[in-house]
């Protein structure tokens, strides 16, 4: 008699439509708004012109076209990728560690990336003689190395390989790597601004190359996290019970950490350490919809992309033609916004 009754927590279509609309509006705004005013009509015409066999007249000069297609578009797309990935990674970390304060940098991905980037900036000045740009590569390797180190440390603890020992190992690794990073940075004052700028994060110099570089990682990692999202709800009842429900908590945690970290490493390698996104986006989604990861993960992917695109619009137009580091914007607009959501919500945050 109950066969046709729906389950109570579903990814309601109106949530998905709403979040998708938010993302679309953000992307359109991101393409339309910039320090250089381009008319929306011309932008539309220019976009339609990319369709084969169509040719419309636009008022855009060659340089305007370059601004639109070489700078603004990749920047917006990169914003979507970075925001989605950091939000999904943040939600994953919160799920596997049952810790609302977990963010993608919890286990040392941020500190490792920072150290890698600093090493690259200090010791491997970018020149065209490198086959690959050493900075993103070093940041990527650093992020993964940091988390791997935390895992090794956390799992060599004799008593109890729990989520808590892993977090503690991550905190230790992050502090250590940050100390190393600061040491290198202080030794070489010439590169201080570059290191500091990287840590605050920026999409300012993004191009299609960066998009192409990270898109495969983001696609794979988001897919894994999305498909496996149900497992995060199981971990919520604790490792012992999750084990008696037929999952291996350690293995689930490892898989989520691997893919959340891989995606985070990829995006921070081109965007720098943009903070706060991984915490406030999943929590906002949770407060407005449901605490179930079946809902939180997909909506965080959509809303996270939108959030970072909006933050980036502010980063480039607030003091135009100057730039504000996007990490500053995410905290500046993110914190008050989150406070409002927190106050007006029904308070289901775990």
């Amino acid at each position: 008699m109950n066969a046709g009754r729906p389950s109570t927590t579903r990814l309601h279509w109106y949530w998905v439509v709403g979040a998708t609309l938010v993302l679309i509006v953000a992307v359109i705004a991101g393409v339309m708004v910039g320090p250089i005013a381009l008319s929306p009509v011309d932008i539309m015409a220019s976009i339609i012109n990319r369709v084969p066999f169509v040719s419309l007249d636009t008022e855009l000069s060659v340089r305007d076209e370059a601004i639109l297609w070489e700078i603004r578009m990749p920047r917006v797309i990169l914003g979507v990728l970075v925001g989605s990935m950091l939000s999904a990674a943040g939600a994953s970390y919160q799920g596997v560690f049952r810790n609302p304060l977990a963010d993608p940098y919890l286990l040392g991905a941020g500190a490792g990336a920072g150290l890698g980037a600093t090493i690259a900036i200090v010791y491997a000045p970018a020149t065209s003689s490198w086959i690959v740009d050493p900075l993103p590569l070093a940041a990527f390797v650093g992020a993964i190395g940091g988390v791997a180190l935390a895992y090794v440390l956390g799992y060599t603890v004799r008593s109890g390989r729990t989520a808590v020992t892993l977090i503690l190992a991550g905190v230790a690794v992050a502090s250590f790597l940050t100390a190393l990073q600061t040491f290198l940075q202080q030794r070489d004052s010439d590169t201080l601004r570059e290191v500091y700028g990287w840590i605050l994060g920026s999409l300012n110099t993004a191009g299609w190359g960066d998009v192409a570089l990270i898109a495969p990682y983001v696609a794979v990692c988001l897919s894994v996290v999305f498909i496996g999202r149900r497992l995060l709800d199981i971990l919520a009842v604790g490792d012992t019970e999750a084990g008696t429900l037929g999952v291996r908590p350690g293995r689930v945690r490892l898989i989520f950490v691997i893919f959340a970290t891989l995606g985070t490493a990829a995006v921070v390698s081109v965007s720098g350490l943009i903070g706060f996104v991984g915490i406030i986006v999943p929590h906002t989604v949770r407060l407005l919809t449901s605490a179930s990861y079946r809902v939180v993960i997909p909506l965080s992917i959509l809303v996270g992309g939108a959030f970072l695109v909006v933050a980036d619009i502010i980063a480039r137009v607030a003091i135009s033609p100057g730039e504000i580091p996007i990490g500053v914007v995410t905290a500046l607009i993110g914190a008050p916004f989150f406070a409002v959501v927190l106050r007006t919500s029904k308070g289901v945050v775990s």
């Binding site: 250089i36 990749p74 300012n204 033609p321 100057g322 730039e323």
Partner: protein
């Protein structure tokens, strides 16, 4: 990270110096004047000799009104330590190089400077004191380095980042006065002024004002006209595109990539060639930058980061590089 300094007031009194100079050149200021009175616009006057004998200086003790307070130097220093790449360049340029016993690890010019592993960014009182200096130049005091050295009786002159060209000149002259090379220092200032003016004078009138983008690093940090570099390049008549991008007046705004493309500066000046590997090629590879006139016309100027980040005597070379690039452009610009 760019420290604001109280403007230098300069050398006061007690300096014997140029009064007894052999060449009775009226344009040479008497040493008892404050250095701010050194004429900066001497384009109509003959170039002055840069070398004077040490004998003309030599009146010690001197009191130097340095940014860190009045510094009294009892006798001509013979064990000078420079923890500032700029001071190192100045010391050697004014003939005080032989008195320098140690310089910091970043002091890579001139190449015969006695480089040590002393750090300019995190200087240590003990490490500096171990050289038993009788005068120390610093560009940065992160803590109590000045107080620490003074406490053990070592005179210190803190010459921080110059905020203006006059600021730099005053530092050079103080450096001269403190080491017994005041006349050479004054000569160096005058030479630099003349050389740079000669350079700028060689520029024809610009029918359409040129503009420049000065890059500090590949994340598009730049400098405005209010900075030392901006002031230095002011007489070129070029517009600085960063001026619009600095509403909060930091002097060092990060510019938006779209804005740089839309501004289409006549010249792109790269001060991040050594630190960050920027070059004409890397700039051309940046998304959208291939549409820039400066890239198409090959007027991307690769400056020497070291010169551009210091406020030493080689600023004239920087001006020369920029003027040269402007002159190459002239035919097409006219």
């Amino acid at each position: 990270m760019f420290r604001r300094l109280i403007p230098l007031v300069a050398v006061v009194a007690m300096v014997g110096a140029a009064c007894g100079s052999g060449d009775s050149d009226d344009s040479r200021p008497p040493a008892t004047q404050t250095t701010t009175s050194v004429p900066r616009t001497t384009s109509t006057e003959p170039q002055e000799p840069t070398t004077t004998t040490e004998a003309v200086d030599g009146g010690f003790p001197v009191a130097i009104d340095a940014p860190n307070g009045m510094v009294r130097i009892e006798s001509k220093p013979e064990r000078v330590v420079s923890i500032s790449p700029t001071s190192t360049e100045v010391l050697f340029a004014i003939g005080a190089g032989e008195q320098v016993i140690a310089v910091d690890s970043m002091s890579n010019f001139p190449t015969n400077a006695p480089v040590t592993d002393l750090s300019a960014f995190t200087p240590s009182v003990e490490a500096i004191a171990s050289f038993e200096p009788d005068l120390v130049f610093l560009s940065f005091d992160p803590g109590d380095i000045v107080a620490g050295l003074e406490a053990i009786g070592i005179p210190v002159i803190l010459h921080g980042t110059a905020l203006s060209v006059d600021d730099a000149y005053a530092q050079w002259e103080q450096t001269g006065a403190a080491t017994g090379h005041f006349a050479e220092a004054v000569g160096l200032v005058a030479d630099t002024v003349v050389n740079m003016e000669t350079e700028f004078d060689s520029l024809p009138e610009q029918e359409v004002a040129m503009s420049y983008y000065y890059e500090l690093d590949p994340t598009l940090y730049s400098v405005t006209s209010a900075t030392f570099i901006g002031e230095l390049l002011g007489p070129s008549g070029m517009m600085n595109i960063a001026d619009a991008g600095d509403p909060d007046g930091s002097g060092y705004p990060q510019l938006n990539a779209e804005y740089i493309i839309a501004s289409d500066p006549t010249l792109i000046l790269l001060a991040d060639t050594k630190c960050c590997g920027a070059s004409g090629e890397t700039v051309a590879e940046r998304p959208g930058w291939d549409t820039l006139t400066a890239v198409v016309d090959d007027s991307v100027v690769e400056l020497d980061d070291d010169i551009a980040s210091r406020w030493g005597p080689r600023i004239a070379e920087l001006v020369m590089d920029v003027v040269e690039a402007m002159l190459e452009l002239e035919p097409s610009n006219a």
